[in-house]
Point group: C2
Chain length 259, copies 2
């Protein structure tokens, strides 16, 4: 089963398109056991309302991918969810290959990568390694923060046609050309989601972060064409993470039923 | 003492501008102790001929930044060298801040980041966190691989003037504006090093990877304006790493004396 099939199974099982971003604030590394326990508790509480868990350096660094993080990954899979390594891979090919090998060997189902590094000696080995593990590759197309306009939003001369194009449109085209399993477009920029949906023509699902503290709104993201919502602090920092996750899942579900 | 002063002290002590990229091929995580031993052995052999050690996901992932990698970092500092975390940071600000906090808390002297994510809610918190630790921030300006032309080499409309500019020239200007402690430009592209040196006007040192297996040549990189040479496999995969490091150091030294 490919990553795309596996995440779709989890969506059906939990009637949820919510990807939990399992991020916590910086913790003194001496207390990192607390972080691990906290991550496990949140998972135990919210797993019925999500389809996937996105893990990044917030946990990779203090826990260690082959050390304490293994407990978290095991729980993700026990709960029937998939795990996405949000490493935003952007190195040279030989290093990218090793990075991808480690994340897939650690048990991740997909990795997130930055198309800015290009294909040759860039992301090609990431796609090849993912294929070997039946894993997914999700590409950054427009990130959710303010400074995203500087890079993802800049105007670029298309190297093939010479025509001016927004950077993110070129990235969306690369996602199609390279056979990506998903793209990331910030929920904070619904107009960009709409444009990317047009370019992708429904062939690649859009993952949308920035719901909650960053200002992205569920309805506008879904209406614009996001298929998955990535939600972090609105769940992990909530007084009752389970209730918050359930509420967000239900809002998204209700909205999708209306579309 | 700032990072720039610390690395300069190491340069003087060892008469070397060589930054060792301490990378090894993928290793079955079950055997990761071998990797740690191998890294320590290479350091023990080559430390008199280098000024700094650049560590990336090749070691972060299998060893864990707060686990086995601590032994390697301790040795780097015991030998009077500085440690650079080549994480190519490219996330949103709140995550970038946590990433930078962990690397500096782990003992790294500098981090490498990708200016593509912009300043606001992008790299600003990385520079602030580095300042708190008297650490350095080194920005990617043109990477050493073939696909680098797709992103770093693309033509972009300058958001302030509307004029067409190569992406890497805009990145070099951001390095000046943001007060970076170094920039990375591939030794494989000496013409780009020359152009970046022009933009930087000697205010920020250029670090140049790609010497050896990637085809970059020591003389052309230094002649074009690189101040530090980043060398990985030409040392780590050599039959005799110490001899190889000494030879590369001496070649660079001889060339710099001639300039």
């Amino acid at each position: 089963m490919t990553f795309r099939v596996r995440i779709e199974e989890a969506v059906k099982k939990n009637c949820s398109n919510i990807v939990l971003a399992l991020d916590f604030p910086f913790e003194n590394p001496a207390n990192r056991q607390t972080l691990c326990t906290r991550a496990e508790r949140v998972l135990d509480a919210v797993y019925p309302y999500i389809c996937a868990v996105k893990i990044n350096h917030h946990l990779f660094l203090p826990l260690g991918v082959f050390d304490a993080l293994q407990k978290v990954l095991k729980k993700v899979h026990e709960k029937g969810l998939v795990a996405i390594a949000d490493a935003k891979i952007n190195d040279i090919g030989s290093t990218n290959q090793v990075i991808a090998e480690y994340y897939f060997a650690a048990g991740f189902d997909a990795v997130i990568a930055n198309p800015f590094v290009g294909w040759e000696e860039g992301l090609q080995p990431v796609f090849e390694t993912a294929g070997k593990y039946h894993g997914g590759v999700i590409l950054l197309v427009y990130m959710s923060h303010k400074g995203a306009s500087e890079g993802y939003g800049q105007t670029v001369a298309d190297s093939e046609t010479g025509q001016k194009q927004p950077q993110y449109v070129l990235f969306a085209r690369k996602a199609l050309k390279w056979g990506a399993d998903g793209v990331v477009v910030g929920a904070t920029y619904p107009d960009k989601i709409r444009k990317v949906r047009e370019v992708l023509g429904g062939k690649i699902p859009i993952y949308s972060p920035g719901i909650g503290p960053q200002g992205g709104v569920i309805a506008s993201a879904l209406e614009s064409g996001a298929q998955y919502l990535i939600v972090g602090r609105a769940i992990t920092a909530a007084e009752n993470p389970a209730e918050s996750a359930k509420e967000i899942r239900n809002m998204a579900k209700a909205y999708l039923n209306k579309l």
